[in-house]
Symmetry: C2
Subunit: 230 residues, 2 copies
Amino acid sequence: MSSDRTRSAILAAAEKLYADRGFGDVTLRDIVAEANVNLAAVNYHFGSKDELIAELFVTRSLATNRERLNELKAAEEKGGGRAPIDAILHALVGPTLRGCLGPDREGSTAARFMIRASIESVPPIRRIKNREVDHLRKFIAAMRRAMPGRDDADLYWGLHFALAMAHHTIRERERLTKLSEGQCDLNDVDAIVDRVVAVSVMALTAGETPAKKAPARSAMPQGRLTRQDL
Amino acid sequence: MSSDRTRSAILAAAEKLYADRGFGDVTLRDIVAEANVNLAAVNYHFGSKDELIAELFVTRSLATNRERLNELKAAEEKGGGRAPIDAILHALVGPTLRGCLGPDREGSTAARFMIRASIESVPPIRRIKNREVDHLRKFIAAMRRAMPGRDDADLYWGLHFALAMAHHTIRERERLTKLSEGQCDLNDVDAIVDRVVAVSVMALTAGETPAKKAPARSAMPQGRLTRQDL
DNA sequence: TTGCAATTCAAACAGTCGTATGAAACTATC
DNA sequence: GATAGTTTCATACGACTGTTTGAATTGCAA
């Protein structure tokens, strides 16, 4: 089947061009020129431009989510069904950050594409992202097991802030480099992951809703919640 | 001068439509229809579509930045030239969050416009945002005065994470509401500001680069750094 | 080899977009 | 009230967009 070659060529060309120039100014004609295929091939193989973008994003997104769940599962098995909170958060933000940052990923088309997808948020991608809620609920469930005493709202805020730091770092990495004049090392991905996880754990273990009084913490398995370096 | 009326009508109509439908699918023809002016008026008064968008964003952005600096200045004067870290962060994220969240701001066109600008990131807006570095440096300077013992890199990361949480909350507020099934109250803006500030302060006071050992904290004016509720 | 389906291709379609133009209407000054 | 400058207007331009079409080509099975 020669059609697979055309399909793959389109996917590769589209991902490369979107990664380099963004969704805003890449036309189907640009893509087919890069892929050396006919203009009509895109609609023939994908139906529409949006479906092409969706397929690109779904592929990469599923890979990240799978990696997340694998890491979460491994952590839960290691902990006998209950993973410590830092491991859960590590599984949440690790794959995303590792996939988009780091010197080896610098030239990766897939990484640059996902960064674009994180910045520009075009309709077909937005639609897919909105279905990610179910995926995140699995992490909320794991967090609930790790911190049974915690209010659900606090768990949601903790997860929300963890994703905030991860995505903002990916999205604004150039600005952070410029602002800090290189003092923030965006290439040391492991250190970034650790930093994001550490802050998230702090938010979850010490951060009560400021309006409330801090409750007794005896219900929480504190020893396991605190990272050794905090 | 009747020209001011046309100009204002265009600005108001554009802000409303962009706020409601995003930059992607609002054309000049939509704008002039909403404003009840002629199509050519946009290019006559603003030069181009991009310059219209830029003017809209610059106006709102300057207002926020001014508010930030006023709050920072007030905090520094109150502290005799050195504001506590939580007040600095409060001045950084407070105006942004207050401007975009909250029940009273729900119907505000300006707020919804800024949310759009935060989500879609169209070229003319991106250009303006890249000039914001100087503005942020003033906050870094204030943070350096508040925490003289801290590594600059840690300060940059702290500011970065504070902005991450604020912007991500604005940008993904619908998803957070959906994910938490309403358990996260996006209408209590003060509580959100306090929460973001609290986590940011924790990141700055306790968060060392995980690879390093935590240094002695004696150099830091701890008593003033820690919020009463932490 | 014949026949049929899958794939490729050049070309055109039907819009939409931001912008430009030149005349008309208005405004203010003298 | 004539004049000069500003602002509005209808209209068209030129280019670009995603998509469709129908014929040509290819690949594979009988």
